[in-house]
């Protein structure tokens, strides 16, 4: 024990010194002087003050504007095939994953539902749900949005898009094989790492193929400053392969140390993979739709580096009270609480930029989805910091409360931002506006009411369950009976969400087939005339 603490102390000391030197160096070299000019990188000349929600809203006044709009059109179309491949696959996996989620939820209060086949037993449909929505929906939609944003951020065409197309094919094969393996009973046995390691290699290759266009396009970039969104996207694409590779090394980490690797990985899938993508998208969409730059660019950079530093070490809060060294748990708890720094900086920027523009939520589908997602990022992250405290965790650990929290993060935050991104991206790639405004509205209300019911019912149930588990006075079976109404309510919420996804998917297919009346005007929740007020 003592040598470990000594090593930790030495590492801490060296790190603080290096951090201090880096800070002095960056101040001396004006690394903090980007200021608001950098925040305007994403706008073309004269675009500030105009919303980009309707693609052609601002009539070009000058040659510079006209050429900027043309350049943006070219940039958007350079990524068309690659983005469409990733997004359509993502939506397929979303629908599939939702049905598996719904079946899982039903099985929790109807234990005799679909029991005759081993392929549909609870312990197999649940991981199929998790892996389909994480690696299928969230990851693929995230990569699709990143591929769309990269040429825009670098103001050039996407180079090497065909590698990304090939990557999507390999990624899809990996998913099909991995989900098939779980169904057949060949799970690796650890949560978030169920796919057999042989299949995992396909994800490493598929992901690496997406890094090629990123690097090639970055090399061609036409902008002086790298906007903060590109920081998040680049970092995420560096982090994921490293994480995935280490965590899936077969036969390396036995017993309790396997558990630490498991949760180091699983929380980093959230923290260093889907979160940076989600925040990055919001950092682009919110200012773009409002037509005003984010309020504090320096803060956004502090938020980025503190996220990298703190989020990467929170994973072990999943093992509080478990058979692992206490210092390790404490380290993760400290970092979980420190996460409030990046969360608050991001919140100031996202919500601060929204100040005075909340009425735009009434008409813009993208803004409504993305901003609610950003708000839920703030809420779920602060909840997560609280949940890592030992006094709270002793109640919530091992209960449905954690499941509710996970869905607040992966769904209300991330999926909402991805929905918003898809609503923004598709008209620009297909030169077609969304056919039916009411379907967007229906999608929004179904998934919003669904996740609300889901979150509230499981949070309340989970908290009660956790309190009861601590006190042996209540027999275990009584606790099981107590949770049933909450589990039934969750099925209702989940069914609404699944229905919302069907609406979304149908609308997406209609969009691809250019259904509906061709419109010059963007499809907003309300008529576009109020647009520029």
């Amino acid at each position: 024990m003592t040598p470990t603490i000594a090593i930790l102390l030495i590492i801490t000391f060296v790190l603080s010194t290096v951090g201090l030197l880096l800070l002095i160096w960056s101040i001396a070299n004006n690394q903090f002087s980007h200021g608001q000019e950098a925040a305007r990188t994403i706008f073309s000349p004269g675009e500030e003050g105009h919303s980009e929600d309707p693609a052609q809203a601002a009539e070009p006044d000058t040659m510079a504007q006209a050429s900027a709009i043309k350049a943006r059109w070219t940039a958007d179309h350079s990524s068309r095939t690659a983005v469409l491949c990733w997004l359509s696959s993502a939506i397929f996996w979303l629908v599939l994953g939702s049905f598996f989620g719904l079946v899982t939820s039903l099985k929790m209060h109807l234990p005799e539902f679909l029991i005759s086949s081993e392929f549909l037993t609870f312990g197999r449909v649940r991981p199929v749900h998790l892996n389909a929505v994480t690696y299928g929906w969230a990851s693929m939609a995230g990569i699709g949005a990143a591929l769309f944003l990269i040429p825009r951020l670098f103001k050039t065409s996407l180079a090497g898009g065909k590698y990304a197309v090939l990557g999507s094919v390999i990624w899809n094969i990996g998913l099909a094989l991995g989900l098939g393996a779980i169904t057949l009973g060949f799970s690796d046995g650890q949560e978030w790492l169920e796919f057999p390691w042989q299949v995992d290699l396909l994800f490493v290759v598929g992901g690496a193929l997406c890094a090629i266009p990123l690097l090639l396009t970055a090399a061609n970039r036409q902008v002086e400053h790298l906007y903060v969104t590109s920081w998040y996207l680049m970092a995420a694409l560096v982090w994921f392969p490293i994480l995935f590779l280490i965590a899936n090394l077969p036969f390396t980490f036995p017993g309790a140390s396997g558990a630490t690797v498991n949760w180091w990985f699983a929380h980093n899938v959230l923290g260093l993979w889907v979160t940076p993508i989600g925040i990055g998208i919001a950092y682009y969409m919110i200012p773009k739709i409002l037509g005003r730059p984010i309020i504090s660019y320096q803060l956004s950079l502090i938020g980025f580096w503190s996220l990298a530093l703190f989020y990467s070490q929170v994973g072990i809060h999943h093992l509080i009270g478990g058979p692992i060294p206490t210092w390790l748990v404490t380290l993760s708890i400290v970092h979980s609480v420190m996460m409030s720094i990046p969360v608050i900086t991001v919140a100031i920027n996202h919500h601060g930029t929204m100040m005075g523009n909340f009425k735009r939520l009434k008409d813009s589908p993208t803004l409504r989805f993305v901003w609610i997602g950003a708000l839920m990022y703030t809420v779920s992250s602060l909840q997560g910091s609280m949940e890592a405290l030992r006094s709270v965790n002793v109640v919530t650990h091992f209960t449905h409360y954690t499941v509710a929290h996970a869905h607040l993060g992966m769904y209300a935050f991330l999926s909402f931002i991805l929905f918003g991104a898809v609503y923004f991206i598709m008209p620009r790639l297909t030169n077609w506006e969304w056919p039916w405004r009411r379907m967007i509205s229906l999608h929004f209300w179904l998934v919003s009411i669904g996740i609300l019911i889901y979150f509230v019912s499981l949070t309340v149930t989970g908290w009660k369950q956790g309190l009861a588990l601590l006190d042996a006075a209540m027999p275990f079976m009584d606790i099981v009976r107590m949770t049933i109404p909450g589990l039934q309510a969750r099925t209702l919420g989940g069914a609404l969400m699944t229905l919302g996804h069907l609406v979304f998917a149908a609308h997406f297919v209609a969009m691809l087939m250019h259904r509906g009346v061709g419109s010059e005007q963007p499809t907003l929740f309300r008529s576009a005339i109020k647009e520029n007020t």
Binding site: T121, S187, E191, A218, W264, G322
Partner: protein, 201 residues
């Protein structure tokens, strides 16, 4: 390109630091930890049962990690056993610590419910034992036969749950899983466990 590269290298370095603290150091410390002398290795059959446990995702509802009573008294009071230590898991690959207690902790289920007949009956249909259990039945781990053959393990069911004719016998997988359940017995003393003053938060 220089700045893009700097961001990516910086991001990778930070992750490497986290890997050092959350992966490498725990691994070094825990693999040096003493293994309790009374911990028995799994037999071939128990190991097969463990694979059945993994394949059917028991881990999504059952944990295998009682916590310290000074932290979470319910774990001890429900009879789930002493707090587990890293050495208890020396033979476990992959680990099956679990994160949910939709069902009870199973770290010492073999000591708590040591009857193989009970285990098989409960796997065939948990509601035979607990009317309101929400654990799924595992009919695919059993066979319905007209007459049990020599050496078949018969599951004796109450009339309400028994098939109209014939008998229910356990498959090899069911027997292996039940053997694994019985092997989950960590009631031996753990030498590395601090006696009285376990550090609290």
């Amino acid at each position: 390109m220089k700045r893009a590269l700097a961001i990516m290298v910086g991001a990778a370095l930070i992750l490497l630091l986290a890997t050092l603290t959350l992966v490498v150091m725990p691994y070094l410390q825990m693999s040096a930890e003493q293994v309790p002398p009374d911990l028995k290795p799994y037999t071939e059959k128990q190991q097969r049962g463990r694979q059945v446990y993994i394949a059917n995702g028991c881990v999504y509802c059952h944990s295998q990690q009682p916590r310290d009573p000074s932290f979470a008294p319910g774990d001890r009071d429900r009879g789930w056993g002493r707090p587990s230590v890293p050495g208890d898991y020396a033979n476990d690959q992959p680990h099956l610590l679990g994160t949910m207690r939709t069902g009870p902790d199973l770290f010492n289920v073999g000591a708590r419910l040591p009857s193989i007949d009970w285990q098989l009956l409960h796997l065939y249909n948990p509601r035979v034992v607990h009317k309101d259990s929400i654990m799924p039945s595992y009919p695919f781990l059993f066979r319905h036969v007209d007459e049990a053959a020599e050496g078949d393990k018969v599951v004796y069911l109450p009339e309400a749950y028994a098939p109209e004719s014939g008998q229910i016998v356990a498959t090899e997988d069911a027997l292996a899983l039940a053997e694994y359940m019985l092997a989950l017995d960590h009631t031996y003393p753990a030498p590395t466990l601090p006696k009285a003053d376990k550090p609290k938060e």
